[in-house]
């Protein structure tokens, strides 16, 4: 049920993000969603892509530091309180969120929240028990 996220180490300097996106473009990789965590010196670009293995390979070949992290994608209706309904459950069950980011599905009805948990297995169990839709990687990459 987990989803693989690609993380790329980027220096905070002009052109470094462009370099990464160019490589993905040239390898014909589609980005589903992304987020950028940054400090004054460096950033970590986190991506959900349609082809994790290929993205991993081409980025490494071009000298980037890349790692793969397990994240969890959860579908919620795109309306007020959607995210809150998940947070309420996670809070009650004492599941910690390290970070999250989101995107809206093409149909416009649902949003997908990408969560990084310290213990993903426990989070998945809690979410499915409470009838949330956890999207498996295979489905998410192809969305």
């Amino acid at each position: 049920m987990k989803v693989e996220q690609i993380s790329i180490f980027l220096e905070n300097k002009p052109g470094s993000l462009e370099h990464a996106t160019r490589i993905l473009k040239e390898a014909d990789i589609n980005i589903r969603t992304l987020s950028l965590a940054e400090t004054s010196d460096f950033g970590i670009l986190r991506l959900i892509v349609n082809d994790v293995e290929k993205a991993n390979t081409v980025l490494r070949e071009n000298g980037f530091r890349v790692n793969k992290t397990a994240v969890v994608a959860v579908e919620v209706p795109d309306r007020p309180g959607g995210l809150h309904s998940i947070m309420e459950v996670l809070n009650k069950e004492k599941v910690n969120v390290e970070y999250l980011y989101a995107f809206v599905e093409r149909s416009g009805e649902n949003a997908v929240i990408i969560f990084r948990f310290d213990v993903p297995e426990k989070a998945i169990a809690v979410l499915t028990k409470n009838s949330f839709t956890v999207i498996p990687g295979s489905k998410l990459y192809a969305l």
């Binding site: 220096e11 460096f42 980037f64 530091r65």
Partner: protein
């Protein structure tokens, strides 16, 4: 003015005779008490008694910084610890630092030579000396301190840092002399200016500066801002500390090396061949009177020229020009000596880091700044890929640099293969500081 007129003005013939006698004594002593020297002299097939004139000096093997490190901490001491009254050390992790020992008589000699420096700068017991050289394991602060007490001056043991307080004391205590690194003098002047203080209104009349390279134009700048005479002092912790050579007030241009205690040569740093006096080369020192930590033909790494023309001050001792170059990759940051190998050792001790790094020295206003760029390794990024973990690694590098080397660089993780390389070799040091 002289502190020890007899020895400072000793005619050169007598000085050379004294040097030879002392050289022969120190050779006998190190041959019989320090394993390293016995081995080195035996390997060179030289008996200590074979040195019968100063012209024989080049027959003796050099002592290098590597020899010092290999004998860390006390391997080169020529006396038992019970005879040692003081220990100083250079920065660096275990085995990459050097420890300097002093007997009671060594401290006495050192104090006298520092006293000679202060008197050469025109200071007396009526002066108040603001000593902003660093105290502690480094030799500069305490070395100068003992000399100041020896001439009976009033010494303010200020040490480095805490600039606002330094300004306050300069105003309130009214010192007549200041001692620190030249860049710190410029930094203090900037602080003073920011606080609305004209440095020329202070009672200072003389400044003694050293521990880092500084040009004539920086000297002129300091003299103008402070309205003082700025004099150059040379020191080397391995050889003794500050007070090995001093610029006199009368002569200017060059520092007298106290030749009754040190024998100096210049050599070609590539071949090791001795150079005629006056040609630019690497300075090589032999200590003639040190008891605890004598050095035979120690290669200083400092490149400069010896000046043999007599000085109008009356001192018979040879002079050296200011040191602006090194024969190795040593960096001097705010008066602290750093070798890339020391940085490498620190990075190697941090789990998962590869020693792909670059040191970039710059000047931010008057003070040196150092940036340490380290390429993110595969291991670090795959095992500690979060922002927080990477920041912790930066902090750890910073802390180790501060703890072991006494410097506080800006640490920056960078992408792999981005540090400048020439012919496949990483350029480890980039020095953008203005030297003119």
């Amino acid at each position: 003015m002289f502190y020890n007129e007899e020895f400072e003005t000793l005619p050169r013939e007598a000085l050379k005779a004294l040097q030879l006698k002392r050289l022969q004594q120190v050779l006998q002593r190190v041959y019989h008490t320090v394993g390293h020297y016995k081995k080195a002299l035996d390997a060179a097939q030289i008996k200590p008694g074979a040195i019968t004139s100063l012209a024989d000096l080049p027959k003796l093997p050099f002592t290098t910084r590597q020899d010092l490190q290999e004998n860390y901490p006390f391997g080169l001491f020529a006396v038992p610890m019970s005879s040692i009254v003081r220990l100083h050390a250079s920065s660096g992790t275990s085995g990459r630092s050097t420890v300097f020992g002093y007997t009671k008589r060594d401290v006495e000699t050192w104090s006298e030579l520092m006293a000679r420096c202060l008197v050469a700068a025109g200071l007396t017991k009526n002066d108040i000396i603001h000593n902003a050289f660093g105290y502690g394991l480094f030799t500069s602060g305490l070395g100068l301190h003992f000399g100041a007490e020896k001439i009976g001056a009033s010494v303010i043991p200020m040490s480095g840092g805490n600039s606002k307080r330094q300004i306050m004391i300069l105003q309130d205590f009214g010192p007549t002399a200041i001692c620190c690194t030249p860049s710190y003098a410029l930094h203090l002047a900037e602080q003073g200016k920011a606080l609305g203080l004209d440095m020329k209104t202070l009672k200072l009349r003389v400044g003694i500066f050293g521990a880092e390279p500084w040009s004539v134009s920086i000297r002129d700048e300091i003299e103008t801002i402070y309205g003082i005479t700025a004099l150059d002092m040379f020191g080397l912790s391995e050889v003794m500390g500050p007070g090995i050579a001093m610029e006199c007030q009368e002569g200017r241009g060059g520092m007298h090396i106290f030749e009754d205690h040190f024998l100096v040569e210049t050599i070609n740093p590539q071949t090791g061949e001795p150079l005629p006096e006056g040609e630019e080369g690497e300075l090589v020192f032999t200590t003639l009177t040190k008891e605890a930590f004598p050095l035979i033909r120690y290669r200083s790494g400092d490149i400069t020229r010896l000046i043999t023309t007599p000085c109008r001050c009356g001192r018979s001792h040879i002079k050296m020009e200011r040191v602006m170059k090194r024969s190795d990759d040593m960096l001097i940051i705010r008066g602290i000596n750093i070798f890339p190998a020391q940085v490498e050792a620190i990075l190697a001790d941090i789990e998962g880091l590869e020693p792909n790094y670059q040191l970039i020295a710059d000047k931010i206003s008057a003070l040196d700044s150092l940036e340490l760029r380290v390429e993110v390794s595969e291991k670090i990024f795959s095992e500690s890929g979060s922002v927080k973990e990477l920041q912790n690694i930066e902090k750890r590098i910073f802390k180790d640099m501060k703890d072991y080397l006494g410097i506080t660089p800006r640490v920056k993780l960078v992408e792999p293969n981005t540090l400048k390389r020439s012919n496949g070799m990483m350029t480890k040091v980039i020095d953008n500081r203005r030297r003119a």
